[in-house]
Symmetry: C2
Subunit: 150 residues, 2 copies
């Protein structure tokens, strides 16, 4: 089976211009063309699925491109590609950890407002603190990307 750019865009939940942009950036290797028109085939979906995963877990376009280039080199780059995947797995694990922490934070806020609404005023909870003490700013987990030397 073969698919038009519009069909693939709809399947992936992106716009056609986004797919053309990805193609331009070298993120759609070996894409078939008929009279200059892009034709997606079943084999392409295998990669689109990986692309979707990397993209939605914050891997920059440039790094995805690097991965594509490695893949083009064949078996010689297996180890490098493996390392890149391991790195990304770690990114994902760290993210999940972080989001779980923020879930706790927001659940405290949820409790805070429930209590305040019941009481009719924020005064009732104003001096409360989350279980992990509020003032311990150094306990706020910091994203790698945020850390700065300056």
């Amino acid at each position: 089976m073969s698919y038009s750019i519009k069909e693939v865009a709809d399947m992936m939940g992106v716009s056609t211009s986004t797919l053309r942009y990805y193609d331009q950036e070298g993120l759609l290797p070996d894409l078939k063309r008929v009279n200059g028109i892009r034709v997606f085939e079943d084999k392409d979906f295998k990669w689109l699925r990986v692309l979707n995963c990397l993209k939605n877990t914050n891997m920059p376009i440039k790094k995805i491109k690097e991965y594509v280039e490695l893949a083009k080199q064949g078996d010689a780059s297996l180890e490098e590609r493996y390392q890149l995947i391991l790195e990304q797995k770690n990114v994902i694990l760290e993210q999940i950890k972080e989001w779980k922490y923020y879930l706790k934070e927001i659940e405290y806020k949820e409790w805070y407002y429930e209590t305040a609404i019941k009481a009719g005023t924020e005064e009732a909870v104003k001096d409360c603190t989350p279980e992990t003490p509020t003032l311990a700013v150094d306990r706020i987990p910091q994203k790698e990307k945020n850390r700065k030397k300056e």
Copy 2:
């Protein structure tokens, strides 16, 4: 205790210019000034912690600003603020679900490369598919933000 912008920046893992930018955007309400110089006090850290949570869970600056404005209105906005927090809790829950899905995907890739490296060639795994079949593109979870009518 009071803290300089640099001290706070270091504690939060951001640059001083980022904090000034947040201030400019109205994200640091009631910030004390001495001779025009920003002075952070303990009470500010309570808010900085919430700010940190909202910011790192993808809430746009503009929406955080709305939250700040609601808070300024006092008890009258309790219900609205509660709803905003509930919405954000959902954002977080959805994100965790999504990232857990991508963890499975990447773990398949991890297995894929481990197998290929052992065999010395990708040929050995080329025709394998993850447990959830590769070609079922419609099973790829799509972020709200990605969905388009076009």
